[in-house]
Amino acid sequence: MGALELKAVGKSFGKTEVIRGVDLTVEDGEFCVFVGPSGCGKSTLLRIIAGLEDASAGDILLDGQRINDVAPAKRELAMVFQSYALYPHLTVRDNMGLALKQAGVAKAEIAAATDKAADMLALGPLMDRRPAELSGGQRQRVAIGRAIVRRPKLFLFDEPLSNLDAALRVATRIEIARLHRELAATMIYVTHDQVEAMTLADKIVVLRAGRVEQVGAPMQLYNDPDNVFVAGFIGSPQMNFLKAAALGEQGETLGIRPEHLEVSRKAGRFAAQISHVEKLGGETLVYARSETHGLLTTRLFGEHDFAVDETVHLTPLAERGFRFDAEGQRMR
């Protein structure tokens, strides 16, 4: 119940190709995250799955059935939007019950379903308010509740947390993870934030310019990226890209995670000048500029005292590095 398959899906707006031949399988019950920079086509792909946008090419299959020509309401999916998109003239209760009402479900059944969803999200006291009387976080919970009430095969989330403040974002993220466990439903979640992707996903799909760059579990993408783009996108702070030739390594680029770049005052492979230091208590981020490699980030555990403009020596742990060729593809 809820396995999605995309076969060579493409989408053009006029002459601009926005989605280019996407092949993808999402298993039943899986939490799949689409991640990529803004404008790479994540929302468009999600809208194609929802049926709000026609695919220009390819097939969309839900549980083995081709649904290209099925109306959005008949696809048995629910969508949560970044802007909440609550109906301004309806109460929270009616917002949540509208889909069932449109489907002709009996009143008592609708009431039971909305109450159950309200319990899950602690929306009880808000049920008779209108969206204008709710805070941002409450609105987003109502939007999620509206999706739950329908008991869909597939949940679609389009950047649901980006309008919330940082604390609320973490809380809602945990809530969504809990819902996924409790409902055991298939979820597709769009974000441009790789932290959200890493923490929520069973499977991450990295998109760039309408193409799938790599698909895999979070740690798989982190530990085994296919190309420079994925390596740079997954992981925070970003991976450092060093000139391989200058280090006597093969390939074009050597990718080193900040924790695998050692800093020393005495000796190292190359010198660099510290441009900025961020102390976070548990860890210290040191930004240093090298003549050949540009701005590099290193991450040290614990507290360290470095002064800006101090010259230090950096040593990449080459055996933990990733080698990429001139096209940016990984050399294994």
């Binding site: 109306a71 999916l77 969508m79 802007s83 889909a99 204008a132």
Partner: protein, 279 residues
């Protein structure tokens, strides 16, 4: 208001400007109203004097009530204005929704074509319109007027409403689609309430020229039973002598219904602005 942002001097100045503007704007209306309550001699003797003592006279209103069938004229004007407004808003909003919501070939051209009427006065087509009305037997019916005024009001309505509809959240419409609302339900239940301030604006701008129009009633519907107020009031303008009392009384009365309509729409306008929309 906090005293940090206001000072007595500035408040007085602002009010002086606003009051001056109000006086200037309302002065013609005021002159019509006071003179409609005066004797003919007093109107010419001192047009700006108030209708007090000897100069007070209701003869104008009496003439209006006796002469012709002014209640019927009012009914005609009201029917024509309200019906035209209804169609202008309904069809204008529907066309605007189609233009703003659906991508189809020639969308932009169609929008331009529909908005072209703003720049071309419909009176240029009077002869053709008259021929059409004669051919379809609609001369001397209110239907003829309603059709013409609907056509006259649509361009502005489509233009303004399509701009506003573009600003209605796509997510909201898409949420409706996923919840199983039909396109009609999305239009009537989600989009229309959100563009209500724009509808009220269009209504006000459409209503006043229709109510005041003399041209088309004169040409298309000058029969006694289809006369509108503005046309009816013309009986008091003679070739050699005007009945100023009756004319001013008729004009004063004609202000009332539009004023009522305006109050209704402006309340919508304010309510639409203050009710929080999507966010």
């Amino acid at each position: 208001m906090s005293s940090a942002r206001t000072s007595l001097g500035r408040t007085v100045a602002a009010h002086a400007v606003l009051i001056a503007y109000t006086v200037i704007a309302l002065f013609p209306v005021f002159v019509i109203l006071i003179n409609s309550l005066k004797t003919r001699k007093a109107i010419f003797g001192d047009p700006l004097a108030l209708p007090l003592g000897k100069s007070f006279d209701l003869v104008g209103y009496q003439t209006v009530m006796k002469q012709g069938d002014f209640v019927l004229y009012f009914q005609n004007s009201m029917t024509v204005t309200v019906a035209s407004l209804f169609f202008v808003l309904l069809f204008g909003a529907m066309a605007a929704f189609a233009l703003s919501e659906y991508r189809f070939r020639g969308n932009t051209l169609m929008g331009l074509y529909l908005a072209l009427g703003i720049m071309i006065p419909i009176r240029l087509g009077t002869v053709a319109i008259l021929e059409m009305m004669v051919a379809s037997g609609l001369v001397n019916t209110l239907t003829a007027l309603i059709l013409v005024y609907t056509a006259q009001g649509l361009p502005l309505s489509v233009f303004i409403l399509s701009e506003f509809m573009k600003s209605v959240s796509n997510d909201l419409k898409n949420a409706g689609r996923i919840d199983g609302l039909s396109e009609y339900a999305i239009f009537f239940r989600l989009v229309l309430p959100l563009v209500r301030p724009a509808m009220a604006t269009v209504a006000v701008f459409t209503m006043i020229p229709i109510w005041n129009d003399l041209w088309f009633p004169l040409i298309l519907a000058s029969a006694e039973q289809t006369k509108t107020v503005t046309l009816g009031a013309q009986v008091f303008i003679g070739q050699f002598q005007n009945d100023w009392n009756a004319l001013l009384a008729a004009l004063s009365l004609a202000i009332v219904p539009v004023l009522v309509l305006y109050l209704i729409f402006s309340r919508q306008l304010i309510r639409g602005i203050t009710v929080g929309a999507v966010k």
